[in-house]
């Protein structure tokens, strides 16, 4: 379980907080989608939930973050990394800059956790295989396409065998099948008991993946409910969130008085 309790956060150098009294509990084995318009506070929630804000980037947090019931205040970044990992929007932010090959990059996390060499290598191989990027193993991580970089960053997180995972737009630069592979890997992680928070603009991905979806607007949680119902909420567009394709299509059919998708026998 990963919890934010009454979390109000102000970035260093800013006069006002950008998150206000956020309560969010991610249960073990649960995949929670986080949606909202540009600069609504999604990325900030990710940073606070991962502990990097304020631990690594400063600023001021009121309220608290708890992992498995224990407050995270007072933990160091490397201690926290054993409990919760975060994947950033831009894979270039994630890249260590010290690894000469993709394999080394992916192995870096488990290595830093002090795992035995054999275990480290096995985890790196498994993570590459899960996302079908074994062929990139010997490439220079700085010379990958945007999407390949994103897959390598996610493989690096998987290799850490994380207890809980925070992802900020993990599939933004991925082709559809790459997104499907990431979704399958996240489901497998959840099945091990991890709690996952996935911030995404692409609601099509969240529609099939999440148990629950949370909507954030102006730094506050404005809706929190089962994924299907939340993604069908009429207010989504007012909050700057594009509804999933199936919802848009259903509305377009209804507007013309045509049969619903279910009546048309879809999904087939």
């Amino acid at each position: 379980m990963l919890e934010l309790r009454g979390a109000t956060y102000r970035y260093a150098g800013y006069a006002r907080p950008v998150l206000h009294e956020v309560d969010l509990a991610l249960r073990d084995g649960e995949i929670v989608g986080l949606v909202g318009g540009t600069e609504s506070g999604k990325s900030t929630i990710c940073l606070v939930a991962s502990g990097l804000a304020p631990l690594s980037i400063g600023g001021e947090l009121r309220g608290e973050v708890r992992i498995d019931g224990e407050p995270t205040a007072g933990l160091s970044v490397h201690e926290l990394a054993q409990w919760v990992v975060i994947g950033f929007q831009n894979p270039a932010t994630q890249r260590s800059g010290v690894a000469a090959t993709v394999f080394e990059e992916v192995a870096l996390g488990p290595m830093n956790l002090g795992l035995p060499v054999a275990e480290t290598l096995a985890r790196a191989r498994r993570a590459l295989a899960t996302l079908r990027i074994e062929h990139l193993a010997d490439r220079d991580p700085a010379r990958l396409s945007g999407g390949q970089g994103q897959l390598v960053a996610i493989a690096g997180l998987l290799a850490m065998g994380p207890r809980h995972v925070i992802l900020d737009e993990p599939t933004a630069q991925l082709d559809p099948e790459g997104s499907n592979l990431v979704a399958a890997a996240l489901r497998d992680l959840a099945a091990t008991g991890a709690a996952l928070l996935v911030a995404e603009q692409r609601t099509d991905l969240l529609d099939g993946l999440c148990d629950r979806v949370v909507v954030v607007d102006g730094g506050r949680i404005v809706l929190d409910g089962p994924a299907a119902a939340t993604l069908e909420d009429r207010r989504l567009e007012d909050w700057g969130v594009e509804p999933p394709s199936r919802v848009r299509l259903a509305r377009a059919l209804a507007a013309r008085g045509l049969p619903s998708l279910a009546e048309l026998g879809w999904p087939a």
Binding site: G37, T38, E39, N90, A92, G240, S245, L249, G265
Partner: protein, 300 residues
Amino acid sequence: MAGVSTVAAGAGGASGAADAGVAAAGASRAAAAAIEVAGLVHVYPEGTRALTGVDLRVAVGESVAIVGQNGSGKTTLVRHLNGLLRPTEGVVHVDGRDVTGERVARLAGFVGLTFQDPDRQIFAGRARAEVAFGPRNLGLRGTALEAAVADALAAVGLADAADVNPYDLGYSRRRLLAIASVLAMRTPIVILDEPTTGQDLRGVALVREIVRGLVAEGRTVLAISHDMRFVAEAFGRVVVMREGRVVLDGTPAEVFAEAAWPALASTWLEPPLAARVGAHLGLGSTPTESALVEALAVRS
């Protein structure tokens, strides 16, 4: 239903375009070429063969989406069009001129290119200065420069952020700023690398409007995208890449038609939901929601 032109390996986009199946795209190709790429091969210094033989002709005023698996060569291809990369083999003509030997500074007057990662592009301390950099280098000064900057910032919804430090903007707004920097150069060819990535509903609508506006002005627009719904709705032509070459080339209705799905799947793409539902109902190729709704309305 028209079949998509499946470009045989190495046969070339120009010959593929002669297929009867791409009549719509073919008609526009009688127009002057904005871009002509023939036999383009690119091998990166460490040995990665990113392009293995690309042939592509884009007519002036066309809107072309370039799609394909991660690492299929999309970004490598477009970086040849403004001279950031030079061919290992093959030739690239932009506006009728061979880019070999052309300086990037001169090509910048013809081709505006945004980067996938805005942080590789943005360097100024104010949004206004960032956007002014390109057009100033092209010789614009005074009120003309100010107008170009103001128009470009307004087009991406950042008019009120002109004096903000770009790094005080969130990532998705920095991406929009990078697009504004290219728009301000008013180049005849505009290339956008994954313009909708990370954008919310309003951001995607802005990008769609920008593409529509550029096309209405007769400019040539290329965009790399993984968002198949955006591709189907905003572009007249879709070029599909796999392993460094073009494997499909046609209108959205052709490229997302059921017959082309195996080729799409081979490069890790799937057609938009509207196309899948349309095929399921035997309505032919309905790549967009509006096409599907129209086809259903006609049938009932």
